[in-house]
């Protein structure tokens, strides 16, 4: 009669070996970049570029892991203990949330890197079906009766908040800063939205893959990527007369990096985003580069747009969040009724 121990011994050894090998992986220099959905392709390529650069300048190997999801959800995960050395999220509010709720980085994180810690920008545009059959040329056309507008849920999606604020800023200017006018516009706009996906990529798939809706409000980089993936013979981009300057920020999560001993490489990882090589890469993945020399080279890809910032349009993210997206805020008032 074999004892229980001898029967389960091979299994115990296997489990032990696996956990040891899993632990071993953490012995090298690793960085975890927690990001949002549409940046997957860009960071995959950038990680290779940075690893080469780091090897060339310091002789050290660095392996960068990435995690992607809805921006708000990702911020939540970092607060709950997902050990990100750096975060590259869709909007400053989400990194603010990490600073406030988790205390994992300084409240003045946004002043630590150039350009409000946003190495690349984007903007909000309209994607329509080829030939623009519904004649959509500007924000006003989205509230015509019968037009189906696709945009994600601003409660859950960072991209959707940019969409919302872009429309809000336009409506506010149009009605000479009369808030009631802007509200009326937003109410009509959301009455035309048949589905609210939870994330920006989900909305793109709804519009592009499932063929729902007449117009998609989207990040410019998402719209350009959709043109590239699905063919410019199927869709076209409409640039509205006025839109928002979307600034997706980046930051080192100080306390995690300190714990991992990766402060230096994490900082270098983000600073290198401002280099000409990385800026060029960002442009190839349809993010508007900050560096003028690179921006000039890609002027053909990115049309001139008339933009306002969150600060100009809505008095900054804290205000925008409290006013529009908190429980009982304008979005709830508009969409609930």
């Amino acid at each position: 009669m074999k004892s229980l121990y001898s029967r389960i011994k091979p299994f115990l050894i296997a489990v032990l070996a696996l956990s040891v090998s899993a632990g071993y992986v953490h012995a090298q220099t690793h960085l975890l970049n927690v990001s949002y959905d549409p940046t997957r392709e860009f960071y995959e390529e950038y990680n290779r570029l940075f690893a080469q650069h780091w090897k060339a300048t310091t002789g050290q190997d660095v392996v960068i892991n990435q995690s992607h999801g809805g921006s708000g959800k990702q911020a939540r995960a970092v607060i709950d203990g997902l050990e990100a050395d750096v975060v590259t999220l869709a909007l400053a509010y989400d990194i603010d949330a990490i600073a406030q709720n988790g205390g994992l980085l300084d409240k003045d994180w946004q002043s630590k890197l150039p350009n409000n810690s946003t190495p690349y920008t984007s903007t909000i545009v309209l994607l329509v079906r080829k030939g623009n059959p519904q004649h959509i040329h500007d924000w006003d056309d989205l509230i015509r009766p019968g037009i189906k507008v696709i945009t994600p849920n601003p409660k859950t999606s960072g991209g959707a908040r940019w969409n919302y604020l872009a429309a809000w800023g336009y409506a506010l200017h149009k009605s000479n800063n009369n808030e009631q006018g802007a509200r009326d516009y937003m109410k009509k706009l959301f009455a035309n939205v048949p589905v609210l996906d939870s994330g920006a990529r989900g909305s793109t798939t709804t519009f592009v893959q499932r063929g729902v809706g007449d117009v998609l409000i989207a990040w410019e980089n998402e719209a350009l990527l959709a043109l590239k993936e699905f063919g410019s013979d199927k869709f076209e981009i409409v640039v509205p007369s006025e839109t928002i300057l979307a600034e997706p920020p980046v930051a080192v999560v100080d306390s995690v990096a300190r714990k991992h001993g990766t402060e230096k490489v994490a900082r270098a990882y983000l600073e290198y985003l401002y280099s000409p090589e990385a800026q060029d890469l960002a442009a190839r993945y349809f993010y508007r580069p900050r560096l003028k020399s690179v921006a000039d080279r890609y002027a053909g890809v990115f049309p001139k747009v008339n933009t306002f910032t969150v600060l100009e349009g809505c008095g900054g993210w804290q205000n925008a969040q409290a006013k529009h997206f908190s429980d009982g805020g304008t979005f709830d008032q508009i969409y609930g009724k």
Partner: protein, 293 residues
């Protein structure tokens, strides 16, 4: 029905036109339902997976990320399933062989994972092990990683799969009774030999059946794992999560290729399940026991 059949047995042998039409309609309805909701989607998975040829399919599956997702899914099943077998056997042994206070509570608790949404299950672990959860600060101080790491994924998987083995064994062992075990004890066998020589051989098919169900669920679990995974490519993504990611990246061929692996796992499960059923009649709980003994 039996009454009528006794009166005119010829009517049974040659069903009336109406009965025949009724039967055809019912069978057709069931078949159409199956085709639309089961066969069509399965066919779609494989069509999409092979839409760019066998070579592309092979390359999609051989991608580093898909391979590591496959490995992780296997690792999680290898840890979660044996633990649940252990738990399932002890729980059903205790429940069917002993009387104790709180027995009905234990039976109810075993069913909790079937009643709770997997997403809620995942969130419970975040509440306990998250940085701001009950154990989070202590874990972080000691540099132990539970959620957003492999242990959390294993825990969540154990949670959603733990009813399967016990649920199979309890009715089976109840029907079987403890006569043989009592006889073995009377003849002088100790606890371990009663278990290895009497109980285990008796329950082995039901146990295998429950194990297969638990394994297939652990391979396919999405919701609970999604909450605790952290979605780190190559490290904490299981195969179902990888499928979603690939799909979101417009990488449809690779997404469906990975999905086809999950579908294959499900088909293997079904075949195993079916062959156990027909080999032993396990699923007519205890009924075959009498004919056996």
């Amino acid at each position: 029905m039996s009454n009528r059949g006794a009166n005119s047995s010829s009517a049974l042998l040659q069903p009336s036109m109406q009965q025949r039409v009724g039967r055809v309609v019912l069978i057709a309805a069931a078949l159409v339902f199956l085709a639309v909701f089961l066969l069509l989607p399965v066919a779609a998975v494989f069509t999409q997976a092979f839409s760019q040829g066998w070579a592309m399919y092979r390359d999609s599956i051989r991608q580093q990320d898909v391979l590591s997702a496959l490995r992780l899914t296997g690792l999680v099943a290898v840890i979660a399933v044996p633990l649940n077998v252990l738990f399932g056997i002890s729980a059903s042994w205790a429940i069917t062989r002993f009387e104790f206070h709180g027995k009905s509570l234990l039976i109810t608790l075993i069913d909790v994972p079937l009643a709770v949404s997997p997403v809620v299950a995942g969130l419970m672990y975040v509440e306990v092990f998250g940085l701001h959860g009950w154990l989070g600060p202590w874990l972080s101080e000691h540099n132990l990683h539970i959620i957003f790491a492999v242990p959390g994924i294993v825990l969540a998987t154990i949670f959603v799969t733990f009813p399967f083995v016990a649920r199979e064994l309890i009715p089976f062992m109840q029907a079987q009774g403890s006569d043989e075990e009592i006889a073995a004890v009377v003849l002088g066998a100790n606890g371990w030999s009663v278990f290895w020589r009497v109980t285990l051989p008796n329950i082995k098919w039901a146990l295998l059946y429950g194990t297969i169900l638990a394994a297939s669920r652990s391979i396919g679990e999405f919701g609970a794992v999604s909450v605790v995974s952290g979605h780190i490519r190559g490290l904490t993504t299981t195969l179902p999560l990888e499928v979603e990611m690939l799909y979101n990246e417009y990488n449809f061929t690779a997404a469906f290729a990975a999905a086809s692996l999950l579908t294959l796992a499900a088909i293997v499960t079904l075949v195993l399940k079916k062959s156990i059923e027909s080999a032993t009649g396990v699923h007519q709980h205890g009924q075959e026991k009498e004919s056996e003994s």
